[in-house]
């Protein structure tokens, strides 16, 4: 509860800072400070839970924070902190409204908080809206760039449409269940009918759109490519992870009892997402666009956690969200240092800037899921979660492994360019000691997760 209020209030503080502060550096500093505070508030809340405080439903059952939600929030604020430290300089460069951009990022965190703790479909809806509207704005924040405006408009129109579908689904479920409170849902013989199942599928389509699952993924490459790169980094990581948590909680906890009705559809969606994301990523010329498609492919793996409908799925999503987010933010941070976003822009980076190239290598290896990096255990956990449910999903797991092998191809293409091709990479921005330190920190975090993933799970109760 406290982190929710804190994130909203901090967003307002950033807004007011935008009125009085002129120096752009100050915004980054203030945002860093507030994010440290927010992480502190989250940890404080986590301590209460760990000390045996029973989580109770707040506001007539609107919200319910368990250890999973609060731990997830703590991780997300931590990642947001890392994001600001790595990309702050680039955010300052986007436009004139730096303070507002940070304010919107705080509102996104507020929405992520709601999504991790919702206990009522209305809060789910509001959380998704609070997370979406800042994204539409951030996507279009580079007003001098036509592609950015196009991305914003496209995202807004499609997003509004998918919100409509989500509302339709919620309305149908309300009609079947006579309540918005997900803990009061009980699916029985007489109410698992076209109405409730229709509602479930509408919600699946809408949430699938928001996490860019195929075939609802068509907006993703254009939006991620068109949006200013620092904001693509947050859209592809924190936002996606938060919506996945909502997805997982809704389908595992609430609709888990009738999983036989929806797993087939969701497994087809997963297979399609893996296929489309990986195959199209192979053909991309620009690394930024490749990362957009790779984020579709990674969403396919995260969908496994939803398909699993068990506790391992929850563990898997935590590890996956962290490993994927840190690696992607790091990769985008490296990308933003370069002038040329194509593969050729990376030529010779290994010789010229060994540290940039080395950290990029770790991020890419993690995204590909190579052992000793966080990405390996992330994939391992989500796939075993599905295997625990029996052999019915075996075909999908084998397919996913095949697709992971394909993904190695396009990640390694960047590595090849960095180490085995000659060239003079041009930097768009000076690499400072701070950048080196935080990139190294992110890479170290990935290695630590890759060696001992249990540290991320120690905070979860049951």
């Amino acid at each position: 509860m406290k982190p929710l209020i804190a994130s909203a209030v901090f967003g307002v503080i950033m807004m007011f800072a935008a009125l009085s502060v002129k120096e752009k550096k100050t915004f980054t500093l203030l945002a860093t400070l507030l994010l440290v505070l927010l992480t502190g508030v989250n940890i404080y809340e986590l301590m209460h839970i760990m000390n045996g405080e029973i989580p109770e439903a707040l506001f007539n059952g609107m919200l319910k924070y368990g250890s999973f939600s609060i731990w997830f929030n703590t991780l997300m604020t931590g990642i947001a902190l890392l994001y600001v430290l790595l990309c702050g300089k680039h955010i300052e460069k986007v436009g004139q409204h730096t303070g507002e951009y940070y304010g919107l990022i705080f509102f996104i965190l507020c929405g992520a908080n709601l999504l991790s703790g919702y206990n009522n479909l209305l809060i789910l809806f509001l959380g998704i809206e609070i997370i979406s509207i800042p994204q539409y704005i951030l996507a279009g924040s580079d007003k001098r760039n036509l592609k950015s405006s196009e991305a914003s408009l496209k995202y807004f129109l499609m997003g509004a449409f998918s919100t409509g579908i989500l509302l339709m689904g919620i309305a149908l479920l309300y009609g079947a269940m006579h309540t918005f409170d997900v803990s009061q849902f009980n699916f029985m013989e007489h109410n698992v009918d076209a109405m409730s199942l229709g509602g479930i599928f509408f919600i699946m389509v809408a949430l699938g759109f928001k996490v860019s699952a195929a075939p609802m993924h068509f907006w993703t490459p254009d939006v991620y490519d068109g949006a200013p790169t620092p904001f693509t980094a947050i859209m592809a990581t924190i936002v996606k992870a938060a919506i996945f948590v909502a997805f997982l909680r809704l389908f595992s906890e609430t609709f888990g009892g009738i999983s036989q009705h929806w797993t087939l559809v969701l497994s087809i969606v997963t297979a399609l997402t893996l296929f489309v994301g990986n195959i199209t990523a192979v053909f991309q010329q620009s690394v930024k666009r490749m990362l957009a498609y790779s984020s579709i492919a990674q969403a396919g793996f995260m969908l496994f956690a939803v398909l699993a409908v068990n506790a391992t799925g929850f563990k898997g999503i935590i590890i996956y969200a962290v490993a994927y987010s840190v690696a992607t933010i790091g990769m985008f941070a490296v990308l933003m240092k370069l002038k040329d976003y194509t593969y050729d822009g990376f030529n010779g980076l290994g010789r010229k800037h060994p540290l940039l190239a080395f950290t990029a290598t770790i991020f890419l290896l993690s995204l590909a899921g190579i052992p000793l990096t966080g990405g390996f255990f992330a994939k391992y956990f989500v796939l075993t979660a599905v295997m625990e449910q029996g052999t019915g999903m075996m075909w999908l797991v084998i397919f996913a492994l095949l697709m992971a092998a394909i993904s190695a191809y396009y990640y390694f293409k960047v590595l090849m360019a960095m180490y085995f091709k000659k060239g003079e990479p041009e930097l768009a921005i000076e690499v400072t000691t701070g950048d080196r330190f935080f990139l190294g920190l992110a890479a170290a975090a990935i290695i630590v997760i890759g060696v001992a993933p249990d540290i991320l799970l120690a905070w979860l109760k049951n």
Binding site: G95, H97, L126, I130, P134, I137, G140, S141, A176, G198
Partner: protein, 173 residues
Amino acid sequence: MSLHEILFYFLSLMALVCALGVILSRNPVKSVLFLIATFFAISGHYVLMNAQFLAVVNIIVYAGAIMVLFLFVIMLMNLNADAEPQKSRLVQFAAVLSGGALFLVMIAALKTAGIHAEESKIDSSGEIGLIHNLGQVLFKEYVLPFEVSSVLFLSAMIGAMVIGKKEEARTEA
């Protein structure tokens, strides 16, 4: 047929015809006018269900304010050229197929809903939509969504500012 039923069918017909008009008319301004008529028909339904407050809000916010926004957007665009791209046959066919499938699902959903319609019957005798009861529910049971929506409005305000405000001449670097 009672007056209530006559009005219900009349309003439903009006809503359906106007909604079709929105998507079928080629002129966007006409589409907006049809949309306003649709909103009025829906407001009529609210009144039939004894939810006068919702009816008025629907007219003030949707038919009033939001439609003005729509008209502004239309005027922002260049409408002189008839720039609607021609869709290929395959896409049209796929759209008809998926739309039809959706329609079937909705019909099935509404059909099964008919069984227990009795328990949740909303008609002019119900008092859920009255402003007094609405306030009680909104500020007691649903007080959190109410508060949270203010965050949503704030981000919308920032959005309007960031996107809509002219960039000042770049004085500082």
